[in-house]
């Protein structure tokens, strides 16, 4: 056992040495939290209720998976609207249709004052939405389900029509003189993703192919795009369906020695920076912040003033095509996580 003790002691010594060495290396004079704090010190006046209506409780139930950047921005918009409108805001999510419906049911039994739901899996949600409207709870649908929203009894729908967004991408690719494009889907079997690529295919004059990648494994996403670009040298445009994947595509292009332009759906700080530097062509934004913010605000307007927006048709929050010239302005907003 003596040998074992020395082994453990040696390991401890090595670990201590690593820690000491890294601590000695000290601080970074660039970037990091300190730089962010300096930026934040300037702006700081959000989050006070601006109305005197009673403190209603609104709940939102989405089909988001765990740790999805997009839904985080939606939530941010909803929370800021809730703070302003004196709303107690609740949020829950599940990427399983059945569980999402159960979450809605639990909010109904909690007797919330209004509900915001997504209809990514419309059939699973149908009964839950009907139950809510029967209980007199106003419902607004956001993001997905523009086709079913009215039929299921929701007040209005706020979101982007995925097919329309795809069509906008096809047109933008035409305007940029692209001939052969790749549509990178990071979730196999996601209806919205298929609609985007199908929409792009419809308006795009050239040829468009789908490529499915494993969205939970970033190095694999990169290698798959790399492989595709090597296999088909004629590809001159790559469209990713989520902001984090645009960067993987940029690196894949570099390694594969391809000349393709990288474009993407959705926005984040890296995408904004990429647009500014010219490593990305354009981004299609559906303004998730707006989807959350407007949903809460419209429900408040409905409760307070019986207002409804959209005239029975979906209120579109996108597609907004963002290029180099808008990027500088948006970058700041992406860094604080609202764009």
């Amino acid at each position: 056992m003596a040998r074992a003790r020395t082994g453990a002691r040696a390991l401890g010594a090595v670990l201590a040495a690593v820690l000491a060495a890294t601590t000695l290396a000290g601080c970074s004079s660039t970037g990091g939290k300190r730089a962010e704090d300096a930026r934040k010190a300037a702006e700081n006046a959000r989050g006070k209720a601006a109305v005197t209506t009673p403190r209603w409780t609104f709940a939102m139930v989405t089909h988001s998976g765990d740790g999805d950047t997009f839904w985080d921005i939606v939530q941010k918009g909803a929370k800021e609207a809730a703070a302003k409108d004196n709303i107690n805001f609740l949020y829950a999510h599940s990427d399983e249709g059945q569980q999402q419906a159960q979450l809605v049911d639990s909010y109904i039994s909690k007797k919330v004052d209004a509900l915001i739901v997504t209809l990514a899996k419309p059939d699973a949600m149908k009964a839950a939405v009907a139950k809510a409207t029967a209980a007199g709870i106003p419902v607004i649908t956001v993001n997905s389900g523009s086709a079913q929203s009215k039929e299921y009894g929701a007040l209005t729908h706020i979101g982007q029509d995925e097919s329309v967004a795809g069509e906008a991408v096809g047109e933008e690719l035409n305007a940029r003189g692209r001939k052969k494009a790749l549509c990178v889907l990071h979730e196999q079997g996601n209806v919205g993703h298929e609609q985007r690529c199908a929409g792009a295919k419809k308006t795009f004059g050239g040829q468009l192919q789908n490529l499915y990648v494993d969205g939970t494994n970033m190095p694999d996403v990169q290698a798959s795009i790399e492989a595709k670009l090597q296999a088909d040298k004629a590809v001159d445009a790559v469209v990713t369906l989520g902001a984090p994947f645009a960067d993987a595509a940029v690196q894949a292009k570099k390694t594969a020695g391809s000349k393709a332009e990288i474009d993407t759906f959705d926005l984040n700080a890296k995408v904004a920076a990429g647009l500014e530097q010219g490593t990305l062509g354009f981004a299609v934004d559906q303004q998730p912040y707006l989807q959350g913010y407007e949903a809460v605000d419209l429900l408040w307007l409905y409760k307070y003033n019986a207002d409804v927006l959209g005239g029975g048709r979906p209120v579109l929050t996108g597609p907004q095509i963002i290029t180099e010239k808008d990027a500088a302005q948006l970058r700041e907003y992406t860094e604080r996580g609202t764009r």
Binding site: M1, A4, L15, V18, L19, A21, T22, T23, A25, G26, C27, S28, S29, T30, G31, G32, K33, R34, A35, E36, G65, D66, G67, D68, T69, D72, I73, Q188, N210, L211, Y212, T216, N217, M218, P219, D220, Q222, A223, S224, E226, A227, K228, Q230, A231, D232, P244, D247, A248, Q251, T255, A256, G257, N268, A269, K270, E335, G337
Partner: protein, 353 residues
């Protein structure tokens, strides 16, 4: 306590008169290696895609395949060792993401040189590995339960902490911080002979060599085979079963740290929800590479061949430009075929012994 029975480890000078230690001819010895079947499978997959996909044989394509295999292979090595030792680690995939998140957020929040974050991440990740091993040996619960618990806890911690600390579900970019470029050289892209190669390929090669040496040439290697073959028998002949298992879990943690840093320094922001499901891919690579699910048998080189088969298959489908709707089906069928071939060759090899 030093004399552990080495069930599958060759080497050492055989004293005359013991038939178990007789010298055997080279082909005979090759036939007995656990990775033999997977090598045959790898050759078959390679030849197959060389024929059906035109661009598969280009040097740049092979480089891409190698990269895809290496990101998986780095993790498959310690996972294979752990399987030989008779245990699983379901937390391995998420641990990679945890490790990347820790170094990124520590550096960012402390505005510290990124190497500080990298060091802290190493310590914390090793501690998670040690926790797995410690809980396993202390509670005597199956590793499936212990590491499933760790898997879920880490998944929650990744999301919870990231949201709590950065306010969003992904980390902030640390690309403009000091030490980033040197860390990038070590973990993401390393210049080598005038070209730039993905660092995971080098880490992979080193880890395979190191693990092979440990398995075949050291006493610790014998302990691994012994605890996987039968923990009680091993304990009876003086093998420190608990310590061996804890070290094996720490080995997995170390590789998770390497993979995590690669993730961080390749893409400089980390999504907190990533990594779920990858633990199965590591286990698959080890199994294709000839590790027995029941433990006690397998090799590090086999895990590398398994990772290579996986890399070739997943990227070969793209090179072959097959209809993507069927992607997962092709992948599954190829993997099944490779494993069946593997098993068949091994049976033949054992029959002719």
């Amino acid at each position: 306590m030093s004399q552990a029975a080495p069930p599958a480890a060759p080497g050492g000078a055989p004293p005359a008169g013991d038939e178990r230690l007789l010298r055997t001819s080279l082909p005979r010895r090759l036939m007995g290696r656990p990775e033999l079947g997977s090598v045959v499978g790898a050759v078959a997959v390679f030849v197959f895609f060389s024929i059906v996909a035109d661009s598969f044989l280009q040097p740049s394509s092979l480089n891409t395949v190698l990269y895809a295999a290496s990101t998986l292979g780095v993790m498959a090595v310690p996972v294979a060792l752990l399987m030989i030792g008779g245990e699983f680690d379901l937390s391995a995939g998420v641990m990679v993401t945890s490790s990347a998140l820790i170094s990124s957020m520590f550096s960012y929040q402390m505005t510290a040189n990124v190497w500080v974050g990298v060091g802290v991440s190493l310590l914390v990740t090793l501690a998670i590995g040690a926790f797995n091993g410690f809980m396993l040996t202390r509670t005597k619960l199956p590793s499936f339960i212990i590491t499933l618990g760790t898997f879920l806890m880490l998944t929650g911690l990744n999301l919870g902490f990231t949201k709590l600390i950065s306010g969003t579900v992904s980390t902030k970019s640390i690309a403009d911080m000091e030490g980033f470029s040197s860390a990038r050289t070590v973990f993401a892209e390393t210049p080598l002979f005038g070209a730039t190669v993905k660092s995971t390929i080098l880490w992979w090669a080193v880890l395979v060599a190191l693990a092979t040496w440990i398995l075949l040439r050291t006493r610790f290697g014998n302990w691994i085979f012994a605890v996987g073959g039968g923990a009680d028998a091993a304990r009876a002949v003086g093998v420190p079963v608990k310590r061996t298992k804890i070290f094996l879990y720490m080995g997995v943690a170390f590789a998770a740290w390497v993979s995590g840093q690669h993730l961080l320094f390749s893409f400089d922001v980390v999504q907190s929800g990533e990594g779920v499901g990858n633990e199965l891919t590591y286990i698959i690579a080890a199994v294709i590479g000839g590790c027995l699910i029941t433990g006690g048998y397998g090799s590090a080189i086999g895990s590398a061949v398994g990772a290579f088969i996986f890399g070739m298959t997943s990227k070969g489908i793209v090179y072959a430009e097959w209809n993507p709707d069927w992607f997962k089906f092709f992948l599954g069928a190829m993997l099944l075929l490779a494993t069946l071939l593997n098993a068949w060759v091994r049976k033949r090899a054992e029959a002719t012994r």
